[in-house]
C-alpha cells in the first residue's frame, strides 16, 4: 500500500509540475493533471484544495482572483520563485526513487 507520505509527495510534484507550465485555477489544474497522466492521477476537490492551501502557506504557490474570458471569477494559482526552487529537488528525489524501483522490479521503461 502506498503510504500517505508518498501519496502527498506525488500529488505535490504533480501540482508543481503542471503549474510550472503556467497559472491555472483549481478545476483546470485537476483536469490538466488527469489529462496529462491519462487518468492515472485524479484529484477530487477534497484532495486538491487542502493541498493547494498548504502549498500557498509554504509560499510555493500564490493564488489570486482573476476574471476569465467567460466573465467568471476564478482563483488562479501560479508557481512562485520558492516553488520553482522546491520543484527541482523533489523531481530529483522522485527520479532516484523510480530508478531504484525499476532496477529492483526490472520493470521496463513505459
Amino acid at each position: 500500500m502506498i503510504g500517505p507520505g508518498i501519496k502527498r509527495g506525488t500529488a505535490e510534484l504533480a501540482v508543481l509540475s503542471v503549474l510550472e507550465e503556467g497559472p491555472l485555477h483549481g478545476y483546470e489544474l485537476a483536469r490538466r493533471i488527469e489529462q496529462q497522466t491519462k487518468g492515472a492521477l485524479r484529484f477530487t476537490l477534497a484532495a486538491l484544495y487542502p493541498m493547494l492551501y498548504r502549498m500557498e502557506q509554504r509560499r510555493w504557490v500564490r493564488g489570486s482572483w482573476e476574471t476569465g474570458g467567460n466573465g467568471r471569477r476564478r482563483r488562479c494559482y501560479r508557481l512562485t520563485a520558492e516553488g520553482k526552487k522546491k520543484l527541482s529537488p523533489i523531481r530529483q528525489e522522485w527520479a532516484e526513487l523510480f530508478h531504484a524501483l525499476r532496477r529492483l522490479t526490472k520493470v521496463p521503461h513505459g
Partner: protein, 231 residues
Amino acid sequence: MADWQKLVGQRLSGLALDAAEKDEVHAELAAHLEDFYESLRTKGLSEQAAIQQTLAQVANWPDLRRKILMAKKGRDFMKKRLHQLWIPGFLTFILSTVFLMTLQKLGFQARIVGDGPNAILFCAPWLESLLFVGALGAYLSSRAGGSRGAALIASVFPVLALTAAFLLMFPIDLFVERIIGRQVDFSIVATALLREGIGWILVPGAALLVGGLPVHLLFSRRSSSQETAVG
C-alpha cells in the same frame, strides 16, 4: 441547477476562519463544483447524475473542513489551541474533581440549603477552591496567548464537563427507568435537573468565573501595557 455557493456554505459551516477568508474559500470551492458539474452536463449526463457525481467530489465535509483549517492556519493553530484551551481546561477539571474527592474522603459534609426534595447541596470549601482553580485556568490560557473566550472556557471547563455529563445522564436514566417499567414523573425529573443544575453547575460555574475573569483581565491589561512599552 444547484446553488453551489449555498451548498458549500452550508456544508462547511463552522469553518473557523475570518469572514473574508471563509467567503473566499466558499466561492472557490463552489466555482470548482460548478465547473465540474458543467463539464459532466457537457458530456451528456442528466442533471441528476451530474449533481450526484459532483457531490461525490467530497465524501466527508467535516474532514474537508478540518483539513482546510489545518492547511490555512498550519499546525501551530492546533498547538496553540491545545495550550490555550485544552491543557488549562483539563487541568481545572482534574484539580476540581480531585479536590472534591479529597474533601469527601476527609469527611467534609456538603451544606444543605432548602427543604425536602428541593434541597440543594453546597460544598463550601470546594466552592472556595474553585475561585483558585478558575484563576489558574484563566492564567494558563492567557499566558499561552488565549483570547478572552478561550481563557473563560478554560476557567469554567469543569462545569462544562459536568453539564455534558448531566445532559447525557438524564436521558439515559429516563430510558433505563422506562425499560425496567418504572413510572417516571417528569416534574420530579425537572426539579432534580434544576436542583442539581444549581448546585453542581450554576454556583460552581459562577465561582470559577469569579476566579478566572479578574485574572484574565489583569493578564491582558499587563500584556497590553508591555506591548505599548515595547512599541
